[in-house]
Amino acid sequence: MTHSSDSPSLFENLRLELRRGSLVLAVLAALRKEQYGYTLRKALADLGMAIDEGTLYPLLRRLESQGLLLSEWREEEKRNKRFYKLSPAGEQVLGQLLAEWKSIDSSLTEIVKG
């Protein structure tokens, strides 16, 4: 059996896997500023971290249930919206994750350099 390393679906799967791992970090970092789901999704997409709503909303719920986010329903522009922001515990975890990410980044840079 042969495997083609340049198969588009294989690359796509690996790419998605790689990005999936960074989503939590991106969402937590973006929610240092309070936002509701739709604006968060747009902000992430504008910065090159597009995330579909089917992934984002369940992720927001999971992070909230883990105590990393706080949320509240509030009216804005005559519509009720659910606003999310980082909780104090979330800020602490974000700091730790960012440090970890920087460490991975510098290790990978060294590895790639050979």
């Binding site: 509701y36 789901g37 739709y38 999704r41 579909d52 709503e53 089917g54 992934t55 909303y57 369940p58 719920r61 329903w73 519509r79 009720n80 919206k81 659910r82």
Partner: protein, 338 residues
């Protein structure tokens, strides 16, 4: 926003009950925001076709709902057999089938035990393991085939169908029905009935050649009495009719009255079968006529079976009353929508 409401309505029964309202509110807000953005971009409200595109991009409601279920398990041996979308339903069907089977096996062993027959834990354990293996294989196979079909046709959900249905409805009676709620038999209810009934049929069919399936090691002592042979064909007919009903509602979930009437007819047939069983007199007979142990075991089980049958009769009657009330309320609702 009729289309948005229909999308959310199709999503609603698939979401976890305790978060349903909250999730629907949030998704509704997200879709409305996207439609508002589209309106700003176009300088006019999005057309129906453009709204359909927005909803279609969000994907099949089954996949969307699967993201919110706490049971995100999958079944994989090498490759994935049952994915996160179907897994909660797989667990539900398996739990129901296994629960029912273990109840029967447990009742037989309890009856033997209460009658003073020696029941070894190893016998009970081997019987339970065998049931587990059979049910697990049958249900897993069916769900794996469905999963294979879904993965080959991932975008089966088509909002265009909503559009056609909606247009037909509007043409039919725009002033009367447009603001009415649309009632449908959930497709997963029909699907679950089909799977559970298939497994029940296979299980029943195997009972004659493998009485071990119901009696466990006690199969060497007792066997089913002739009454079970007499009710076998009517029971198979009822199960097949239930499967036919579910298959029809899978294609036509809007046939609510058909479901309600068919359910009542099937309830009546089930009650008639239970009635015939209750007055059957003897439900198990000794496997060997000259064995006193076998005769004693058969007497013990026959002594306890009526209690189980009466419980089944009460449950079936309660189900029939519930279905009768449902028929009445749906009939009233239909009258009020005209």
């Amino acid at each position: 926003m009729q289309l948005l409401e229909r999308y959310l309505k199709s999503l609603s029964p698939l979401l976890p009950a305790e978060q349903r309202e909250d999730i629907l509110r949030e998704l509704s807000e997200d879709i409305q925001s996207e439609m508002d953005d589209k309106q700003s971009e176009l300088g006019r409200p999005p057309t129906e076709d453009e709204q359909y595109e927005i909803l279609k991009r969000r994907g099949n409601p089954l996949e969307v709902a699967a993201g919110y279920t706490s049971n995100r398990g999958t079944l994989a041996f090498g490759r994935q057999w049952i994915g996160p979308v179907l897994f909660p339903f797989y667990v539900r069907v398996l739990t129901f089938n296994l629960g029912l089977t273990f109840l029967i096996v447990g009742a037989v062993f309890a009856a033997l035990s209460l009658a003073g027959q020696q029941v070894h834990f190893a016998d009970l354990f081997s019987s339970v393991i065998l049931q587990l293996f059979i049910q697990l294989s049958a249900v897993t196979l069916i769900f794996a085939l469905v999963e294979r079909h879904l993965s080959r046709h991932p975008h089966h959900w088509n909002p265009e169908k909503f559009k056609v249905e909606l247009q037909v409805r509007i043409k039919k009676d725009i002033h009367q029905k447009i603001h009415k709620k649309i009632r449908e038999v959930p497709r997963f209810e029909s699907f679950s009935i089909l799977v559970a009934s298939t497994v029940a049929l296979l299980w029943m069919q195997s009972l004659w050649s493998h009485p071990f399936l119901i009696f466990g090691p006690a199969a060497s002592l007792i066997q089913l009495a002739p009454i079970w042979h007499r009710i076998y064909m009517p029971t198979v007919a009822v199960i097949l009719a239930a499967m036919l009903r579910a298959a029809i509602n899978l294609v036509r979930p809007d046939w609510i009255r058909f479901r309600d009437v068919a359910a009542l007819v099937l309830d009546a047939a089930s009650l008639a079968i239970i009635y015939a069983l209750i007055f059957g007199g003897t439900w198990v007979v000794p496997a060997t006529a000259d064995s006193t142990v076998a005769i004693h075991a058969a007497q013990a089980v026959n002594q306890w079976i009526p209690y189980g049958l009466w419980i089944a009769a009460v449950i079936s009657l309660a189900q029939a009353i519930k279905n009768l009330l449902r028929l009445y309320y749906n009939w009233r609702w239909e009258l009020s929508s005209k």
